[in-house]
């Protein structure tokens, strides 16, 4: 039973494009919102994309507007490096335990960068999926919001930590920062926990990891990004040479009962976008896209037409059997071209596996109660479920960005309805 007046506060878990949208839309409708993100900056997956299909525009463009909306809006409270530990109660009266990881940097940080100069320790750059290194005192990326530095746990309790602290003129470095757990009273929760790429090493025939020139679609985005490990050049990780013979393998994990039984929806278009990346950089490049069915919906069909009009982009209807590695490490894609019946073995400079989307919440072992989940781990509220829990974006199913924004806007409304209903009821109780 509700104790006293219901909480009107909406908790959004996950600060990717869906979470940001849900938070902003709810706040701009007049509701208090707390936005939790487990990494040090908002933006989620899309912030690590170079460009969006089909417009080939930059995700930061839309994110910038959203960040401005957040900055302007006193109703939104953003908490980074935070995770939901547990959740109990019902609509209007949830008790949520939140755990935050130490950032070792407080609100006083001005992003001046003096701390980064104070250490030579370099740590793996998670924003670039470990393809390069950053200083142990780092800004997650140039467009990071909040624009606050982070200190890598690796250097804590080392002399470098003290140097870093000493270098900050503003008392922003807090080496005593610790994990903390606190409680929130919440009216409704929107799960926008997003996705992670399917573990490529589980698809053993595709030899991910056996050659540096076999990468995944997210790594390809970083290769194409101006602030990525290669400054935006599509180069072979093995030798830094231009990648001019490129294979893009669709359904790496998706549509496969041995891996992800569902279609991840975005991979076809994503790979066409990758084909454009390569062709923009090298006039003599040839890109082969291996696919089962091309899933380009509504206006996306036009992008498909546009890309397939390029004589140096080949669409090959074939799910490759395996990728072999030549002596010199060159990947060789082997399979059957189902239309010509040719059994091929073609070597490439670069092979990109279009990995499917797996709900992040799935493998989160200590995941709190999130409401109904389907067999794949997507959060899908069922008729009759308690109204206070909804999902936004890919947490609820494989969606592209535009659809995630739609679903997030709808989630904001259902959360608002839930707290309104709860308030009305608790009002009736008093």
């Amino acid at each position: 039973m509700n104790q006293g007046p219901a909480s009107q506060t909406i908790l959004v878990v996950g600060g990717g494009i869906a979470g940001i949208t849900a938070a902003v839309e709810a706040a701009e409708t007049g509701y208090e919102v707390i936005l939790l993100e487990q990494s040090p900056a908002l933006g989620g997956r899309v912030s690590a994309f170079s460009r969006y299909f089909p417009k080939l525009c930059h995700p930061t463009c839309g994110l910038e507007i959203n960040y401005q909306r957040i900055r302007k809006n006193p109703r939104i409270k953003v908490i980074t490096m935070a995770k939901v530990e547990s959740l109990s109660g019902q609509a209007g009266d949830y008790t949520v335990l939140v755990k935050t990881k130490p950032r070792y940097v407080n609100e006083k940080c001005t992003a001046c960068g003096d701390c980064a100069k104070a250490t030579d320790v370099r740590v793996s750059n998670s924003f670039n999926y470990g393809m390069d290194k950053v200083s142990a005192a780092y800004l997650p990326h140039e467009h990071a919001y909040p624009q606050k530095f982070v200190i890598a746990p690796e250097v804590i309790d080392t002399p470098d930590a003290d140097n870093i602290k000493a270098a900050c003129k503003y008392g922003a470095v807090d080496l005593d920062d610790t994990e903390s757990v606190f409680e929130l009273k919440i009216g409704a929760v929107i799960w926008a926990t997003g996705w992670k790429p399917y573990d490529a090493t589980k698809i053993t025939p595709y030899s991910y990891g056996a050659s540096p020139d076999i990468i995944n679609n997210l790594e390809m985005e970083r290769l194409a990004a101006h602030d990525g490990p290669t400054g935006g050049k599509i180069l072979r990780p093995s030798n830094g040479e231009p990648a001019k013979r490129v294979a893009l393998i669709q359904c790496a994990g998706s549509r496969d009962t041995n891996h992800l039984p569902y279609c991840s929806r975005i991979c076809c278009l994503g790979s066409m976008k990758h084909a454009v990346y390569v062709r923009e950089q090298y006039t003599d490049a040839v890109v082969d896209i291996y696919y089962i069915d091309i899933r380009a919906h509504d206006r996306l069909e036009a992008f498909y037409r546009r890309v397939s009009a390029d004589p140096q982009v080949n669409f090959i209807k074939s799910k490759p059997g395996h990728v072999e590695i030549e002596e010199d490490g060159t990947p060789v894609v082997c399979g059957e071209d189902t239309i010509s019946r040719e059994v091929y073995a073609r070597s490439y400079d670069l092979v990109v596996l279009a990995l499917g989307m797996e709900p992040s919440a799935l493998t989160d072992t200590d995941a709190p109660h999130m409401g109904s989940r389907d067999d794949y781990g997507f959060i899908v509220p069922l008729p009759g479920d308690e109204p206070g829990l909804s999902s936004a974006g890919v947490a609820g199913g494989p969606l592209d960005v535009s659809m995630s924004v739609q679903s997030a806007t709808a989630a904001a409304l259902s959360a608002i309805q839930a707290v309104r209903k709860a308030t009305a009821q608790s009002g009736a109780l008093e």
Partner: protein, 309 residues
Amino acid sequence: MSDSNMNKSGKKKFVYYPGCSSQGSSKHLDSSLRAIVPALGLEMEEINDWNCCGASVGNIGGGPLPTTALSGRNLAKAEQQQATDVITGCAACYLNTHGANERIKADITLRGKVNESLSAADMSYEANLQVRHACEVIVNEVGIDKIKARVTKPLEGLKVAGYVGCQTVRPFANTESGGKYDTFDDPKFLDQFAEACGAEAVDFDLKTSCCGGSVAVISPEKTLHLIRDILQAAQDSGADVISTPCPLCQTNVEMYQPAINKKFGTNFNIPVVFYSQLMAKAFGLDAKKDAGLHRNTIRSEKLNILVRE
């Protein structure tokens, strides 16, 4: 393994199914297995009066049910011996017997038909057995550390290319019933065996390529290139010997070397041994009686040293 997989005494009892090749082309697999399994602390007795499993062409020759009945008879025999687990070292025997066993367990009508057939010899099968590959048993029941511990004569300096082949891992290695002991395309156990025996497992990426199987026996011209590639990769990886768990792989890759050299102008001379032969040797057992190393037709200095030491 499921709890049902226990006999009255509540303990596992292993019986051994050698398979036909144990009396011919793969006597050295048989002898070495019979030596190392007890050495690793597992008792196993042979299935009484076992018969052929039907191999890969049984279906074609005799049809599905008779082939399944062949396995049915072996399993019924094993059950009569109060066994819980049937161990076999032969890939084809494992494929057929394990496959048949799982089908009989899953499909009641099939079980009925098999038992109806068995009844012709007053036999029946309750389908309480697990059929397991010797390699899976060594991985899951023994463990690599126990192998290490048992080694008395480490095979120092011996470079081994672990050639797993197909049916030892496909289609069961990565399934529940198959004991989930390794992957289909990139299994590690054979290299771990070699390393445990003190040898060096070389980087050999054709470990699950096909040697041609029975097609190699029937129409070698179609498959010799497959074996050539395997030998080439082994040679490039600097291997002294190729180690395999599979009788047909062992015979094909070994016996066809002269034919390949003739056809492709190569001069391969790479001994092909069973992992169990290497283990027997590393365990300090008899090179001939147990390891059966004298039965390998391709000889090399390294192999001879192995035999002598």
